[in-house]
Symmetry: C2
Subunit: 165 residues, 2 copies
DNA sequence: TGAATATCTATGCATCTGCATGGAGTTCTT
DNA sequence: AAGAACTCCATGCAGATGCATAGATATTCA
């Protein structure tokens, strides 16, 4: 019995029960993300393309000056774990999509450079990816709703969560 | 990696470029989901709890009549892959959180029943999970915004009402 | 300066996931 | 009713991920 749902009084309760709207938002956020991303991944794979993570790396690099960036920067841009990215770059390098080159002035670091092949793949992937995004999102929202949704989502993202109360 | 034939290289295809709002929505949807889920997972783990997927299963079961459901139903409710859930249930059963029992009238199937221990764990997890959701979402949105966001997200998600999470 | 500390990337190992497949049971077809 | 076709769950194997830690610099500070 009993749903909470009563407003959020800012008292220091021992347990702050999320409101229904907050819970719904959470559930749908996760679900929508999984469903849409899963569907798009499946489409890309079926078309013979690598996973979306590869695209993220390629796009990030392509946008950088000279198509170069460091692993550290890629991690932060695309929310990768360090060890994970390290091995992803191994695979991408093995496919000739990126190239590791020394980082001038710091031998710990390295620069990752996108190759011509990498650029070409990014472009081909976008040919599938873009329309897929449109089908999943563009077709389900009016432009006005999309703007509104993007704005609301922006509030959830970004600022580090540092509850040093 | 092998690519499927029909590239859209070079020549103009009927390509529907997503609008900026759609692209922003996509990027932020994925990012917000990953950031928030990742943060919450980390908090739970730090508190010694199992991953969120376990919670999803426990909550789903708890809501069913008698705390019972079939793997197939759980898959659909929580977007699990079949083989994945099969092994997750192995682990949960080994921890004494659920129990496999025969499905009356169909020997292919089975019923998964939540144990007392499983119910207790779900409850303890909610004590962390609920506040974590509140910090990630409730604190960043007004109640009105949350309602609005939940409504917009609903448009992106398959039209079935989700009982889980 | 030299040692402690911090930063950046790689890797061994255990676990988890994805994929293909298998086995058991059920439904459909003829 | 026999066999094909389908559904549900499990599992072997390869590959990916998470975690802890190593290795190689860089930086800080006593």
């Amino acid at each position: 019995m009993a749903q909470k749902g009563q407003g959020s009084q800012g008292r220091d309760a021992p347990f702050q029960e999320p409101s229904d709207a907050v819970t719904d938002t959470w559930v749908r956020l996760i679900r929508a993300g999984r469903e849409i991303a899963g569907g798009i991944e499946a489409e890309l794979k079926e078309a013979g393309f690598p996973p979306l993570a590869w695209y993220d790396v390629l796009l990030h690099l392509k946008k950088q000056d000279e198509g170069r960036s460091s692993p550290k920067a890629i991690e932060e841009a695309a929310l990768f774990e360090q060890y994970n990215l390290s091995r992803l770059l191994d695979r991408m390098e093995a496919e000739g999509l990126v190239r590791r080159i020394p980082y001038p002035g710091d031998k710990r670091r390295q620069l990752i450079e996108i190759t011509g092949e990498g650029r070409a793949l990014q472009k081909r992937m976008w040919g599938f990816y873009g329309p897929a995004i449109n089908r999943s999102i563009g077709d389900r929202l009016s432009e006005k709703e999309a703007v509104q949704l993007a704005a609301l989502l922006l509030k959830l993202v970004g600022q580090k969560n540092d509850p040093c109360s």
